[in-house]
Symmetry: C2
Subunit: 329 residues, 2 copies
Amino acid sequence: MALAWTLLARPHGMPRVTDFALKFMTLPPLEDGMVHVRNRWLSVDPYMRGRMNDAKSYAVPYALNAPMLGGAIGEIVDSRAEGLAPGDLVLHSWGWRDEAVGPADAVTKLPAITVPAQRFLGHLGMPGMTAYFGLLDVAQAKAGDTLFVSAAAGAVGSAVVQIGKILGLRVIGSAGGPSKCALVRELGADVVIDYKTEGLLSEKLAAAAPDGIDVYFDNVGGAHLDAALGAAKDHARFAMCGMIESYNAPHPAAIANIMRVVRSRIKMQGFIIFDYNHRIGEFHAQMGQWMMDGLIRSDETIYEGLRETPRAFLDLFSGGNLGKALVRL
Amino acid sequence: MALAWTLLARPHGMPRVTDFALKFMTLPPLEDGMVHVRNRWLSVDPYMRGRMNDAKSYAVPYALNAPMLGGAIGEIVDSRAEGLAPGDLVLHSWGWRDEAVGPADAVTKLPAITVPAQRFLGHLGMPGMTAYFGLLDVAQAKAGDTLFVSAAAGAVGSAVVQIGKILGLRVIGSAGGPSKCALVRELGADVVIDYKTEGLLSEKLAAAAPDGIDVYFDNVGGAHLDAALGAAKDHARFAMCGMIESYNAPHPAAIANIMRVVRSRIKMQGFIIFDYNHRIGEFHAQMGQWMMDGLIRSDETIYEGLRETPRAFLDLFSGGNLGKALVRL
């Protein structure tokens, strides 16, 4: 028997712990070509909120009363598949559960490189890859550009800041509160904006980038997007990655500066990292090298034990995590 | 002496006729390299509203108590410049006035093709060029695409509809009221949406494009942009040309579907037609050919006499024009 977190009800607005239930699941028999995995690390990510809605999105909505799917790292405890043996660590997307049995082709064996395994849920995983291709491919960032990134202390944002500095950009990061802002500064940002302190975000950004911004990496939407539009130079590029501010908001935000898209010839480009899966090798090679060279640090907020998973997830929306939020089993 | 409309005061919200004053202007002496022009046609265009604000924009703000600049077609009445002789028709940007004297290199002699001169302020001029490059270059429209265009009975929109049909797109056009909608239908649109009738624009668009839209050509912003975001297919391209609904609005509109930029990987690209000036030859060749072939019809709303110019301009914002709005002197 496995224990798994299931979605009980589709939340309206902010999800609550009571939207989830921990249930026993019978594991299927281990047949040829299958593996039995015991999870070590679970990932909680903002995009999961979108899958909790029964609405058109890039990923299939979560089914009610079924396990919450998502990135996880586990250890093989039994295998009837070639190339996978007990003790191997694998990445999979079976989500918020302690154990799982499934087809071997749905798991990826972690390569033998000297980084902690959980990095493959963070800077060497989906969030890091989102930062990498969002900045380089979607926004076409280049040395000398002034970059603004929101949620700069988060899993994606902390990678955006560091990759930006490696590439020779001037980096302005926003985060909420002193400890997050201190982290963003340590990551190398040239200017850090605390959006929670008094004053208009648009004015803080104008002060940080008096000549405007070339690139905006959006993780937040709302007032951050509006401020970025207001500060955009002509032909600025916006990599539209997420809008965490809106996921649970009851009413959509007005965007006062939307006309700047026309006037400043801004390119706003949404992207989903799954579309870059065919280029994962390029990402692993470059990011792995930067990590080996000590150019990327990875901060984590770790929750202990399966029971903490819903809380770890909910904390994403109240700013509870510094860096990548993970659950350790 | 010339008579010219000047800007008296910068409007807040909707401009009024009292924001303008008709004044006598002394013409400078005709020196070497200069021409004296008597205007035949004046253009009024929505973008002029933006230049009336004292704000960062793609064009320099209009100076107060100075002539309203803009596209016009005039006849040379005197010339001290090579290649320009009395009787020649020229395009220039000296705007809302009956006569002007200025440098010959600021005017363009109209080519000897058999279309009415005022087309060079319409489908063979800035609005037509905006439609052409917006659709082909910015939005990368191609045969088989479903296109939604707002303000489809206007100077730009009426060209977008017709170019869309020539290229083999399925075209959905929106306009306000029965006579405009009848025009859009005559222009060849497959579906016409009257945004003024009862019902939500988003629902009308969903009914018109049950499989979604590939391309949106935005002239309106606000609810039109929101509906287009809601109807966008994955990887849809939005050519962001203008947002006439917002130019005089006291409060910015909420955009409920902004998150669809991320989820559907939409590319929203603002553009200004001046950036395509180096490709005007390509436009003239193609659009001229389509006109010769009878594939483009040009509808005009003509106001008679210089004194009507402010009214012609103000009517743009209350939906008073069918096709291109022009003043004939």
